[in-house]
Amino acid sequence: MSLYSHILTQILITVVSVSGVFVLTGMTGMFSLGQAAFMAIGAYTSGILVTKLAMPIIVAWPAAVLLAVLVGLIVGLPTVRLRRDYISLVTLGFGEAITALLNRATTITGGASGLTGIPKRTTLLIAFVSAAAVVTLISFFKSSKYGRQCIAVRSDELAAKSMGINVPRVKMIAFLISVAVTAYGGCLYAFYTAYVDPTLFGWQRSAEWIIMVFFGGVNSLTGSILSTFVLSGLPEVLRFLQSYRAIIYAVLVLLVINFRPSGMLGEWELTPKHIKRLFKRPKGARAQEVD
């Protein structure tokens, strides 16, 4: 596989996870600092089911996503009724707990030396189709009744309740969707790199995803995807930036927060209408010339 298709595959897998974070953080205003732990659940469960129990992928991946959602339900249940800070604190603790568990349960997970021997099945095509499918689902979600309710909850919880919105329920739905999507990203990741270890899923990764969402535009899925490409693509292309990656991200986001708080694209979304218009424009321009 060439370098560029390698980079592209990794970016597309990140797009899947960032789309999940977009639902939770961009739309609903909740911050999960243990989101990468759900990616770990997806990666490890699917990897273990396939390598140790010889399950076919078509069963193992959905099983992994389902397990992550069940765990998400347990983590979310005590927190969705409380103020936003709790879900961040609880997910952060959850991330640490999962890392400890992965390090410790050596016989199943391979411990600190990681889980090896996962078959390499994620191709560029699979990554692309997955990313496209997830982005389509999420954009449908954004314009749905739950999407609107998520944005209402982010904007003003109290007013949302007064309009009959069941806030804990909406928060839970957003959380579980993001968990499912992130866990799926974990499946893609494990079957791409063929190897996972506990250090890959710390809070730094969750923080990176949140940074990508905010850099692109709080309320714009298009922006989140674009910034995923820019922020994770740039250091790959310009290798000498690699070790400064975290610092560059942080400085960029601090600049955005201070000077353009709605992110690069704000609320702008690329819709099928825009794409149509893009192809029509030359025609219109010609018509004007004739006039």
């Binding site: 983590v75 961040s88 603790g93 640490e96 942080a250 601090l254």
Partner: protein, 290 residues
């Protein structure tokens, strides 16, 4: 006898957690948001203590001083670059989360740039542990406990008895009203960040003494967060009680099930606590403003 030994070790551990939890709660109290850069700030301060003081053969006191000063200074810097604008422009509080997460990434990124993935150790500041009536008491534990207790008592005195403390309390209660009463809100918030940063520096050194110095050591901040959730988010006495409780619980758990699984159990304890008593021990539940 065994129980007494756990109690002693637990209190020593708990006093470090208490430093973390109060530093975190202080900012939560004043600005009503969770400062997720607190952990990385501990790491940064602990490492600056190593590179400036301990690594050059200086003793414990200079190391602590360097770390505390670094913590305070960096925290003040963080307030300026990440939070000031959000406060003055009244941007959505959601941005506090983003800012603090970003700051955490920045601090940790700086540490990683300097040390890579290496582990460092402070020189041994202390001699052999004392043996008192069959119990082992590490000298470091005694010193850590005493300094922590002194720092927390000083903080309590400051908040309750001084003019700055009063200002801090009224800004916590209602920023707008405090400003109308002639309190310099910006100065007060800066003060809270300085104190919180100093506590982070102190906790950083102690963590470095107890364990080792490594770039992701800041994730121990989770223990402080859990302690303040158990104690009641935003309550300083609650944070200290929660931290002590967590310290004792953890040392007991570790001796039973080993250190590997301990984070899993402390997490489960927090979940159960939230289900049973979401307001925490202190019982003050800060709701988002109506």
């Amino acid at each position: 006898m065994q129980i007494l030994q756990y109690l002693i070790n637990g209190i020593a551990l708990g006093s470090v957690y208490a430093l973390i939890a109060t530093g975190f709660s202080l900012i939560f109290n004043v600005l009503k948001f969770s400062n997720f850069s607190h952990g990385a700030l501990m790491t940064l301060s602990a490492f600056s203590g190593y590179f400036i003081a301990a690594g050059n053969g200086w003793g414990l006191v200079p190391t602590i001083l360097v770390s505390v000063l670094t913590g305070a200074a960096v925290s003040l810097f963080g307030e300026f670059v990440a939070f000031r604008r959000i406060l003055t422009h009244n941007t959505s509080p959601v941005y506090f989360f983003v800012s603090s997460i970003t700051l955490g990434t920045l601090y940790e990124g700086i540490v990683v740039l300097k040390v890579g993935a290496n582990f460092y150790n402070y020189p041994r500041f202390f001699g052999k542990p004392y043996r008192i009536a069959g119990l082992f008491v590490a000298r470091s534990d005694i010193i850590i406990f005493c300094i922590s207790a002194a720092a927390l008592l000083l903080l309590a005195y400051m908040i309750r008895k001084t003019k700055t403390g009063r200002a801090l309390r009224s800004v916590s209660f209602d920023r707008d009203t405090a400003s109308l009463m002639g309190i310099n809100v910006t100065r007060t918030i800066q003060f809270a960040f300085i104190v919180s940063g100093a506590l982070a520096g102190l906790a950083g050194v102690f963590l470095g003494i107890n364990y080792t110095l490594y770039p992701t050591m800041g994730s121990i901040v989770v223990k402080g967060f859990i302690a303040s959730v158990i104690g009641g988010l935003g309550s300083l006495p609650g944070a200290i009680i929660g931290a002590m409780l967590l310290g004792i619980l953890e040392t007991t758990l570790i001796s039973i099930i080993g250190s590997g699984y301990a984070p899993v159990f402390t997490f489960v304890i927090m979940l159960v606590f939230l289900l049973v008593r979401p307001r925490g021990i202190a019982g003050s539940n800060i709701q988002e403003k109506a």
